[in-house]
Amino acid sequence: MNAWIAISPLLLLVGGGLLVMLVDAFTKERNDLATVTAATLFLSAGVSLFALLSGKDPVDVPEVFGAFLATDRLGLFFDVAIGLGGGLSALLAGGYLREHGLERGEFYVLVIFSAFGAMVLARATDMLTLFVGLETMSLGVYALAGFRRGSPRSIEGALKYFLLGSFAAAILLFGSALIYAATTHTDFAGIGATVAAGDADIKLLLMGLLLVLVGLAFKVSAVPFHMWTPDVYEGAPTPATTFMSVVVKAAAFAVFVRVVITAFGDDLSASSAGGWPPILAGLAVVTMVYGNLAAVGQTSIKRMLAYSSIAHAGYLLVGMAAASVVGEKAISAVLFYLMAYTVSNVLAFGSLILMGSRGREAVSFDDLAGVGRRHPLAALPMVIGVLTLMGFPPTAGFFGKYYVFSAAVEAGGGFVWLAILGVLASAIGAFYYLRVIVAMFMKDPVPGEPVAVPMRSGSVTAALVISGLLVMDMGLMPGSMLDLAIAAAEQLFAG
């Protein structure tokens, strides 16, 4: 029975998803689907949060799921992040889809089942579960990206994402096959033990590790595997973009952490001379620099936020690279950053959704011109959203960056340069984030063009209030969330 309790957040999502499917099939009224979906995801997050806060170590049930699904604090932590991000995206969709005439029940079903795949991915302790979780999550997200069937741009994005995503999945699968050939294990713990004992074929193993890293770097949209990100983020309906940028990224980083720490945490693979730390550090450098520089020239805010999400993947990779030296501290910083990034990004995308009303979506800087003076209250969440993405105190984004960079400084050596580069890159970031505020409050709209009219939607407002409160809460009192992150990281290294 314990086994079922241990994976109850996942079971809740399956039950909720099937329920939403039936409700969608049997009723014509779709107004409550967003609420039911959000409630399911929040409930799943709440159960996990309760399990985390109750302080007891999670039940360990190796005989049923243990070999394939982790039931540890790290898994619960990501349940919270995924459930929260998915639930908020569903609330945003509740307003957006109705406003723009896209209301179809499939959206919510796909959101729930993708979130389920994301949770499986975040709990994966075996290459097989990793792949199954990745595909369960991705298939739903491909469909979400192409949800606006009438728009060529949406179709283009979805097709691009699907083709490139399939290639990335195949590369990852090839990598895990090589790792299996080198170690005769598919479970992370077994791989780690074999490599540590020196029984692995090093050349095959290195090749396999590289290919797996490529597959994961694609999912977190690290440069140079980011090509799909701007087009897909721009083409997809904005709630789907929100979902992609928070849930997919969180789950991909979760399994990233498990792969590098559990399977490749030995002294050889995690040394700065060879193995993954220099690779991740290099990826972090190009991702931070390119993401921030490319974001500067954008005229569409949606596209700018896509490049900003690439840049954030770069900051997170700094933390991942530093984890080779200061493991617990760096991983807890990465976890905190992901939670902060989840609420911050929902706030930014949600404000963008709020700014568009029937038939007219606000996407570019010009669309937002003057909206701050006309509708100051509606502009407030956007202001907080860009400030937290920028890393301005006292918001969640500031502490996320602070913890990650201080972990890198503590790691010493070349990682200090990584942190310095990160701070410089964030300074570039300030330019394009502040441009949003400038456009809203200091620019006049193009003559003849109307000022954007914010939509009125209870569920969008609710999502903005929740994410806004969490951003400020994690900015003013980061301690409680950091404690959860530290506990999760400690258990990962202990086990």
Binding site: V14, L18, M21, L22, D24, A25
Partner: protein, 119 residues
């Protein structure tokens, strides 16, 4: 390393040589008396009409996907049936869960009109 795989490379070489040789031999030695009928893409059957990029109704895909889903169900059910006594109640409940989920999807597909050809 190379010695181990030498038979494989030999096999690849022989196979390619045979295949290429057959093509070359028929091209060089065979008699050629082309006629319009012989130059058609298909020599038998009725002539094709219309463009080759026609759009097929999405109904074909729905039917195909539903077929695959329930085909897979049968594939799972057979070995389960063979092992039924050994798996006991645990296997029974597991399979019941699987069938319930499939049942929900069938009801969904039905209500959404995926089973109706004429509409």
């Amino acid at each position: 390393m190379f010695e181990t795989y030498l038979p494989v490379f030999l096999m690849i070489g022989v196979a390619s040589a045979v295949a290429l040789g057959m093509f070359l031999a028929t091209t060089l030695a065979g008699p050629k008396k082309p006629s319009p009928e012989k130059n058609l893409p298909y020599e038998s059957g009725s002539n094709t009409t219309g463009a080759n990029h026609i759009r097929l109704s999405v109904k074909f895909y729905l039917t195909a996907i539903l077929f695959v889903v329930f085909d897979i169900e049968a594939v799972f059910l057979y070995p389960w049936g063979g092992m039924f006594r050994d798996l006991g109640w645990f296997g029974f409940v597991e399979m019941l869960l699987f069938l319930v989920i499939l049942g929900v999807t069938l009801v969904y597909a039905w209500k959404k009109g995926a089973l109706e050809w004429e509409k």
